[in-house]
């Protein structure tokens, strides 16, 4: 045991009740800000039963619920959680499947199918595009993304998220190498420029968020 908290245990196992108790502590602030609960990760879909139970408990208590996901999960899971989710924060990284496989290790087919699924179920969606210079900021990817997005009902806005290397420290602490470590963080002007492209496709866009 280290009294100085110099060593840290990252993460903690919690029951549904414990998580709900934590959420309820902050109720008064959601009431005032119109906020609610956002389940993010990691990938929340990787713990489907736990996520579903938490969402059910939240809806019983009339909380606004959001799920921040990469969309890479079974269609049944996605459909099940949709019933208790008010808003999806949905990642769209690369539209070209080969490039998607190259950088994420998986195909984007399931992701796009799930996106259409939640759209059909009438859910509110914010598309989130983490913009990584040299990897997905090219004209072709932006155009493809814009075209897909325009065809999906329920998408209320797109958030283009500037790449950051804040995780570098975490990787280092874990003794791991991060392959994207050397990429420079895009400037404000560059982000404006990318946002304008989406805007020109008639899409409501926001930098960050």
């Amino acid at each position: 045991m280290c009294h100085a908290k110099a060593r840290e245990l990252a993460g903690k196992e919690m029951s549904v009740q414990e998580v709900i108790a934590q959420i309820e502590k902050d109720s008064i602030f959601y009431d005032e800000s119109g906020g609610g609960v956002t389940f993010s990760g990691g990938e929340p879909l990787s713990q489907p039963e736990f996520l579903l139970e938490l969402l059910k408990q939240c809806k019983k208590r009339e909380y606004h619920t959001a799920v921040d996901t990469s969309g890479y999960g079974a269609a049944e899971t996605t459909e099940a959680i949709s019933s208790f989710t008010d808003l999806f924060l949905y990642d769209l990284k690369l539209l070209d499947d080969d490039r998607h496989i190259k950088y994420t290790g998986v195909s984007n087919k399931l992701i796009l199918e799930n996106l259409r699924l939640i759209s059909r179920l009438g859910k509110k969606i914010y598309i989130r595009i983490p913009l990584i210079p040299g990897i997905n900021d090219d004209e072709e990817n932006i155009k493809a993304a814009a075209e897909v997005i325009r065809g999906i009902a329920g998408v209320e806005q797109v958030n283009v998220l500037p790449y950051h290397n804040i995780a570098a420290d975490k990787y280092a602490r874990l003794g791991k190498h991060c392959s994207l470590m050397d990429i420079t963080v895009p400037s404000d002007e560059y982000m404006e420029h990318i946002a304008e492209k989406f805007f020109n496709y008639g899409i409501k866009v926001k930098i960050g968020g």
Binding site: H3, K5, D26, F29, D31, E32, S33, D169
Partner: protein, 786 residues
């Protein structure tokens, strides 16, 4: 701001605080002339009259609102009848690095040859110290409590709307009517009433002649003035001063000048704590503003300029010099004149009007140390009012602070005030709740809650001096339960509060008998009606406060003992007491265990917060409801000014891991660095205190400027305030921190664990960031901070 205001503001900033003995000389001469020949209230009124008729009249170049307390800006009088400084005191005041006042050799000679010979042994300070018991002196020297009235007079009060509706000719008529109606046959108190009313009548005449002297001075200057524009202005100033304070003001300009004369008179009559306050200035000025705009005699620009000129007058009056403990408990030039905006009207409706927003603009633009400003936020006030205030707060110079108008009303009503008096009330000083124009609410001293625990842990002995000043509640090494400790603490608390109250009762009586304030009494309902002085219980409501300090440190200390000694048995009471005695020397492991594994107040954790509630209740039950000499009641509030630093300096190491001499927690804020879960958790913890049963609490939160840089940040700040107020929180203020603070945080991370910064689209604890990222943020902050 225009050129005039810019010039006036700069001159105010450049003026050097200095001691003026003009007042001391006039007062001493007046006492020589009248003492023993007239009753005490009449004596005090004649002293006031001599001051108003003889003090230097000062009208500064370019100004529109006129009048200074001293012969020139920041020339600050002394009040030898309250506290007669020694020549050595004057040396200290002159030479100290901070909060100095320049003292000339001539002034020192006057003090030595004229002032000291008369007042030595006669000042209130000398008289009251002579009356205090040995045990009171022991506690005072130990730092158990401070005594507000040892250098300044009871004040802590605020003006209502009466001076905007009636001039002093009118007040004098009211006084004369009461005099004429005195029943000397059946009312055994008639003589006392007569003397008090005569004193008030003399004071009403005195302020009228003070106004006329300004009118004459303005005309005299007009005759000499070569600039035709300024000549007209001076003539207008003369017209204003011919009308007010004798008559009720008829214009926006006259309303401001009326208040200013009244303000100067209150703070010249006596050195009242917290000066005097305009209170609900936006409410009072609105009818004059509306009328002026409608009849074309006023423009918004002109109104704003006049308000700005009014602001500068406050900044020209630093708090009169303090020495010793009084300086330590309130180490600032600020005299706490505090302006309220917003809130409710008497009928309970939304009080925000056009002048409210103008006042906020002036606060934003003037950025002066004085006056202090706050908003009174009711659930009925519009969000844009709060938002405008948050935008000013985000600029990072600490004003305005934010009060919960609905809680303030509830606090006042709980204390037994009429609902309309409560709604017309607000807060003054730091955070103190009051019924404006109708209440004497006197702060009597800070109370060192943490020191009481220290003495409990030492079985009645103050370890700093070795003196036994408390009760023998038993050696805590023998305590078998946490409850036993709590019981012992409550017994000690009772003991020390009784010593404080005993002293207060004597001091209150001394003020009632020897130091009435007949001018202030005219302004405070129902002193005229009752024929009774403000300092003797003439006000409609009379409340005394003892201000509790260190609830955060106290809670964490109890929590540490409960958890480590009684629950977990990580160490024994004996080991803890040894560690405290040695300031944790050689016990760093124990200290780290305490610091990092104790549930602490400020984290929305019931373990600690329940302890806070019990300690709050103990303090509340001990003080609340006790009778005062003036016929009112004692209440508590929880604020420190700068006293948590002084109290920390006299308190040894505490069980929460705090080292000897370090500051205690401030207001009801958590211990510095103890809150680990952000502002929402702090608000939840602080919200568990029952604010409604206090007369004011103070909560401070820190943010970096970046967090509040855009509309989203401003909205979030507004939502945070509204959330806290839903929990009945009384007051919140924001410290938007500078790069300098971030540097300090880098060097002493332990003290800044709670500091949150904006990183990249998200927020994090500053001390958790890598050094490189910290550097980056510091650089950013340096560019963006004010």
């Amino acid at each position: 701001m225009n050129d005039r205001v810019r010039m006036l503001r700069q001159r105010s900033l450049d003026a050097v605080p200095a001691i003026s003995l003009e007042r001391a000389q006039i007062v001493t001469r007046a006492y020589n002339k009248y003492y023993g020949k007239v009753s005490i209230p009449v004596l005090r009124a004649l002293v006031f009259k001599e001051l108003m008729e003889n003090k230097t009249i000062c009208i500064n170049e370019g100004e529109l609102i006129v009048g200074e307390r001293g012969p020139k800006p920041k020339a600050t009088p002394t009040y030898p009848e309250l506290c007669c400084h020694t020549v050595e005191d004057l040396d200290v005041i002159d030479k100290r690095q901070k909060i100095f006042f320049r003292v000339s050799e001539e002034a020192k000679d006057i003090q030595r040859n004229e002032i000291i010979p008369y007042w030595k042994g006669r000042s209130m300070r000398d008289l009251m110290f002579a009356q205090m018991t040995q045990e009171w002196h022991d506690c005072y020297e130990s730092g158990i409590f401070t005594e507000f009235m040892e250098q300044r007079a009871p004040g802590h009060t605020v003006c209502d709307d009466k001076i905007y509706k009636k001039g002093f000719i009118g007040f004098k008529e009211d006084i004369e009517n009461q005099l004429a109606a005195l029943d000397f046959v059946n009312d055994m108190d008639a003589y006392n009433k007569q003397e008090e009313l005569r004193a008030m009548s003399i004071c009403a005449d005195a302020i009228i002649s003070f106004g006329l002297r300004h009118a004459e001075k303005a005309l005299e200057l007009a005759l000499k003035e070569s600039n035709p524009e300024r000549r007209e202005e001076l003539k207008r100033i003369a017209d204003v001063c011919y009308n007010v304070p004798a008559n009720a003001p008829g214009s926006f300009h006259e309303a401001l000048q009326m208040y200013w004369f009244v303000h100067l008179c209150v703070i010249t009559e006596l050195n009242t704590w917290d000066a005097y306050c305009p209170g609900r200035l936006d409410q009072h000025l609105y009818p004059f503003y509306k009328k002026g705009i409608e009849d074309g005699t006023l423009t918004p620009e002109k109104a704003e300029e006049l308000l700005q000129c009014f602001w500068i007058k406050f900044n020209n009056q630093p708090a009169p010099p303090k020495v010793g403990i009084t300086l330590q408990e309130s180490g600032t030039y600020t005299d706490f004149a505090n302006i309220n905006s917003g809130g409710l009207k008497a009928d309970g409706s939304d009080g925000v009007n056009d002048v409210t927003y103008m006042v906020l603009d002036v606060i934003d633009e003037m950025r002066l140390l004085q006056p202090s400003s706050n908003i009174q936020l009711s659930k009925k006030n519009p969000d844009r009012f709060l938002k405008r205030a948050c935008r000013i707060i985000s600029k990072g110079w600490g004003q305005p602070s934010v009060f919960n108008a609905d809680s303030v009303v509830e606090e006042l009503v709980r204390q037994g005030k009429r609902i309309e008096d409560a709604r017309n009330g607000g807060t003054s000083g730091c955070v103190e709740t009051g019924a404006f124009g109708k209440e004497a609410y006197i702060l009597t001293g800070y109370f060192n809650l943490v020191k009481v625990l220290e003495i409990t842990l030492n079985n009645g002995i103050d370890p700093r001096t070795g003196k036994k000043i408390g009760l023998e509640t038993g050696d805590p090494r023998g305590f078998e339960s946490y409850d036993e400790l709590m019981d012992a603490y409550k017994k000690q608390l009772h003991h020390f509060i009784e010593i404080k109250i005993r002293g207060n009762n004597v001091i209150e009586k001394l003020y009632a008998d020897l130091m009435p304030a007949p001018f202030l009494s005219i302004l405070t309902d129902d002193c005229i009606k009752n024929g009774k002085d403000y300092n003797a219980g003439g006000a409609r409501y009379n409340t005394n406060y003892i201000q509790g300090v260190g609830i955060g440190t106290l809670t964490d200390s109890f929590s540490a003992i409960k958890k480590h000694v009684f629950d977990d048995k990580s160490f024994t009471m004996s080991e803890l007491l040894d560690a405290l005695k040695n300031n944790f020397e050689g016990r760093e492991t124990m200290r780290q265990l305490i610091m990092n594994n104790t549930p602490k107040y400020g984290n929305d954790e019931d373990y600690a917060d329940e302890i806070m509630k019990e300690l709050f209740d103990a303090y509340y039950s001990e003080v609340n409801g006790r009778k005062t000499v003036k016929g009112g009641n004692y209440r508590i509030n929880m604020l420190p000014t700068t006293c948590h630093v002084y109290f920390g300096s006299v308190t040894g190491a505490t069980p929460d891991g705090r080292r000897s001499g370090q500051p205690q927690s401030e207001g009801i804020s958590p211990v510095q660095g103890a809150d680990m879960y952000g502002p929402t958790a702090v608000i939840k913890s602080a919200g568990k205190m029952d604010h409604i049963r206090t007369g004011g609490t103070l909560l401070n939160l820190k943010f970096t400027p970046d967090l509040l840089k855009d509309d989203e940040g401003i909205d979030k700040l507004s939502q945070l305030v509204r959330s806290y107020f839903k929990l009945d929180g009384h007051h919140i203020q924001f410290n938007v921190v500078s790069a300098d603070t971030l540097r300090k945080a880098q060097q002493n991370p332990e003290q800044y664990k709670d500091l949150i910064v904006r990183v990249a689209g998200y927020s994090d604890y500053f001390c958790d960031l890598t050094e490189a990222l910290q550097e980056e943020i510091i650089t950013r902050t340096e560019h963006k901070s004010l």
